[in-house]
């Protein structure tokens, strides 16, 4: 053999590099880098991200600076400050007792965002955890399906309203009422997805090798579900904002002392004809939040699906 190699002059030996041979000859791929590259390739999404970011930052910082308190109304008897139209001095105008609408709007936005984000987070975390185990365990499936069948049959509005009625109105109560049963829907959805992935060959192999269920769920199944989960969050947050607005409008949402967008819309709807800006500004802001968060979420969901990364 040695002689043969020496005999052929067209070949020559290369020195062996131990380190280089370890690298796999594939293009560099980082999941999160690809997600962000994909996300930032969409111009409307960037615009909406800026808008929603701006709204979130304003709603956190503005109430801190203004120290606005809806119950502290020094101008209540000063009629010259009532119903001032939006101007340079009063950006969004003033309301029926002289409160700055600009300050009120951002406090309301903060609370509305707090409610919807908290509810969406509880729904998602609880739903994903329960759903993942639900899809995996057949014993749990029989019990949970019955529970789900009962709960899913009741109109959601009814559940939320009855819960808010029973618990009393307030921000924590509203968050609880919104997330109390909605996580079951998320869990059911995740269960179906998990059941699809559960019996694929690589999971069977993993189980044969003795991987514990919790590890299979965390490492084999959940990464597949990221885009599904992001889609759900992007749908949940605007819908919870919508629910908050609508419940507070009906007067069964937050209490008298809490300021939210829905509460403001309810309070100012009587001035729709006489001082329309009072009503339409909160409506416009709630619509703007929902639309921008929804589009950001949808684009993010598309981007987080690894199947789109290679295109």
């Amino acid at each position: 053999m040695e002689e043969k190699k020496k005999m052929d002059p067209r070949f020559q030996f290369v020195t062996l590099h131990q380190e280089e041979s370890e690298h796999i000859a594939a293009p560099q791929y980082s999941y999160w880098k690809s997600v962000f590259r994909r996300f930032f390739s969409s111009k409307p999404a960037i615009l909406m991200l800026i808008i929603s970011g701006l709204i979130v930052v304003l709603s956190i910082l503005q109430p801190m600076i203004s120290g606005y308190d809806p119950l502290n109304v020094p101008t209540i008897n000063d009629f010259s400050t009532h119903f001032l139209r939006p101007s340079a001095a009063h950006w969004f105008g003033t309301d029926n007792i002289g409160r700055e609408l600009f300050d009120a709007v951002w406090l309301g936005t903060r609370n509305s965002l707090l409610i919807s984000f908290a509810a969406a987070m509880i729904t998602t975390v609880l739903g994903v955890i329960v759903g993942a185990f639900w899809g995996y365990s057949r014993k749990m499936d029989t019990v949970m399906l019955e529970v789900y069948n009962i709960v899913a049959n009741i109109p959601f509005v009814l559940i939320v309203m009855v819960l808010v009625y029973v618990l009393g109105s307030g921000i924590p109560q509203l968050i609880f009422a919104l997330s109390c049963t909605s996580w079951l829907g998320t869990a059911y959805f995740i269960r179906v997805q998990v059941m699809i992935i559960r019996d694929r060959e690589y999971n069977l192999a993993s189980r044969c090798l003795g991987t514990p269920t919790s590890k299979i769920i965390l490492h084999n199944v959940l990464p597949y579900l990221i885009s599904v989960i992001v889609t759900m969050i992007s749908r949940d947050v605007p819908s919870f904002i919508s629910y908050e607005v609508f419940l507070s409008y009906l007067g069964v949402g937050v209490g008298q002392t809490d300021q939210t967008l829905g509460k403001m819309i309810q309070e100012y709807s009587q001035y729709m004809q006489s001082a329309g800006y009072l009503f339409w500004i909160p409506v416009a802001i709630s619509a703007l939040i929902s639309v921008s968060l929804y589009i950001v979420g949808q684009t993010m969901a598309d981007a987080s699906d690894p199947k789109t990364h290679m295109q």
Binding site: I154, P155, V157, L158, Y165, P238, V283, A287, S290, I295
Partner: protein
């Protein structure tokens, strides 16, 4: 299949009962009793009369099903010597007091020294009481009237005042058990009634079921001939007469009626809350299907072209914008076009009142209908039979209308019964914004007014409707698509 349906029905009934029980427990145990009287004006009138306040409050709470209320006169009826027992602090009353305290009653004294006692129902009693009194079947032994010992007790078939045969009863609560008339659904019955409790504080004293199911607005008067032959104009519905105790019968009643059945419900000009919701919800639903199914089909046909993209933008817009904002916006546009922004402005007789609510309701439900129609169509268009149809040389239009649509429509059909039945509840926001006197507006109103019976009633109705609508939907798809067999699925949807 029959076994499956039976199982589903039993499960549905059980789940409705479970939900209602949970709501009963939550409402009775978690809402403070003080809240019940928050808006009661009678209490203000009674201010300064502690005895009357105690009697009024406890009687109301007893009516609402919170507790059992007994006064000394109730206790002393059990005693041998009523008059001596009725003295304040008498020995007999003390004995009875000790006996009742063992049963869990809490005694208090009126200012004159007489006793009264209350016992709050235990959680399981609250639920059992509701279901025990829930279904009322009328029978000839129902009426107890000491002043009328000669009352006949029988059920018979006889012609009613219109000359149409009807099943009538003497001794029942209602005179007419089953009867026919000209209003939908033409055959009516009073035999089996559901008892949901009494509405309070709004619509005080009425049955909650009557509140939502009987007409509203002005009385609808017409010429009638009474049983005695007397004629007159009245709004009474002579088919819905209940027994009136002899002690309260006056000569006016005697002129009109031969029997004691003189306590009649009235006819009203405007439809009831349920019907109101149905009219608006049904029209809205019809419009929604008319818009969204063709739109969804068109989007699927033009997939990835501009109609599809435009449709997707519309769907995303409808999902993202808060429904309240959308409704107000649409209402404002309607107002600019000269349509009323409140339903009562022109009332239920004017067509203009219906235009905007129906359009708003329809548009609100188009988004999800369009998504699903498009989704099912797109999914189906990748199947083998579509490729085969293409290979046969069928046109795109034929393939879509004859082949894909018939398969894609199945899951959409499944949803139709629930949407029809649920339009009763689905329009909570729309009805509130347009001030439509329907069922949807009732729930938030009942909650704001602390009307607990009404909350329980509406919960029951909405839950029962949605559970059975799902069942009907499932049965409907097996009729449309014989390949679908429900029983093999093991009951899970």
């Amino acid at each position: 299949m029959k076994q499956y349906i039976l199982g589903r029905v039993i499960r549905s009934v059980l789940s409705v009962m479970a939900v209602v029980s949970i709501v009963i427990l939550m409402v009775y145990l978690m809402i403070p009793q003080s809240k019940v009287f928050k808006n009661d004006s009678i209490l203000i009138k009674l201010a300064g009369k502690p005895d009357e306040i105690a009697v009024y409050k406890n009687t109301k709470l007893e009516d609402l099903g919170y507790l059992d209320f007994v006064q000394q006169q109730d206790l002393c009826r059990l005693s041998e010597d009523y008059d001596r027992c009725m003295e304040a602090g008498s020995a007999a009353s003390q004995e009875l007091k000790a006996e009742y305290e063992k049963k869990g009653y809490v005694f208090e004294e009126f200012t004159n020294g007489l006793l009264y006692a209350t016992r709050s129902y235990l959680p399981h009693e609250l639920v059992l009481n509701f279901f025990a009194n829930f279904i009322q079947i009328d029978s000839p032994n129902q009426v107890i009237d000491d002043d009328n010992p000669d009352l006949e007790r029988k059920i018979y078939i006889e012609k009613d005042y219109n000359g149409v045969p009807a099943i009538q009863c003497s001794g029942c609560n209602y005179q007419y058990l089953v009867y026919f008339d000209s209003s939908f659904p033409f055959i009516h019955q009073n035999w089996i009634t559901l008892n949901f409790g009494i509405s309070y504080p709004t619509y005080s004293g009425l049955d909650t079921w009557d509140v939502i199911s009987s007409g509203q607005g002005e009385l609808d008067t017409r010429e009638v001939v009474y049983e005695t032959g007397q004629t007159g104009t009245t709004a009474m519905n002579l088919h819905a007469c209940q027994y009136k105790p002899s002690a309260t019968i006056d000569h006016l009643d005697q002129n009109k009626f031969n029997s004691n059945y003189a306590n009649c419900a009235n006819n009203y000009k405007s439809p009831s809350m349920i019907n109101m919701s149905y009219i608006i919800g049904g029209l809205g639903l019809l419009l929604a299907y008319l818009i969204s199914i063709p739109a969804g089909i068109y989007m699927a046909r033009k997939k990835d072209q501009w109609p599809d993209k435009l449709g997707t933008v519309y769907i995303n817009f409808m999902i993202a914008v808060p429904s309240l904002a959308f409704i107000f916006f649409a209402r404002q546009i309607g107002y600019a076009l000269g349509l009323p922004d409140k339903f009562p402005q022109y009332g239920f007789t004017d067509l203009r009142s219906y235009v905007m609510p129906v359009i708003v309701l329809a548009l609100l439900s188009t988004a999800s209908l369009m998504i699903w129609t498009r989704r099912y169509m797109v999914d189906q268009s990748n199947s083998d039979y579509v490729k085969f149809a293409k290979a046969k040389g069928l046109s795109q239009k034929e393939i879509f209308n004859r082949h894909i649509l018939r398969n894609a429509i199945i899951p959409i059909v499944q949803g139709i019964p629930s949407s029809i039945i649920l339009c009763i509840s689905g329009s909570v926001i729309t009805e509130s914004v347009f001030s439509i006197p329907g069922m949807g507006k009732m729930l938030p109103d009942a909650i704001k007014a602390n009307n607990i019976s009404m909350v329980i009633t509406l919960t029951f109705i909405f839950t029962a409707l949605s559970v059975f609508a799902l069942l009907i939907g499932d049965l409907l798809i097996t009729k449309i698509d014989p390949r679908i067999k429900l029983s093999s699925k093991g009951g899970s949807r």
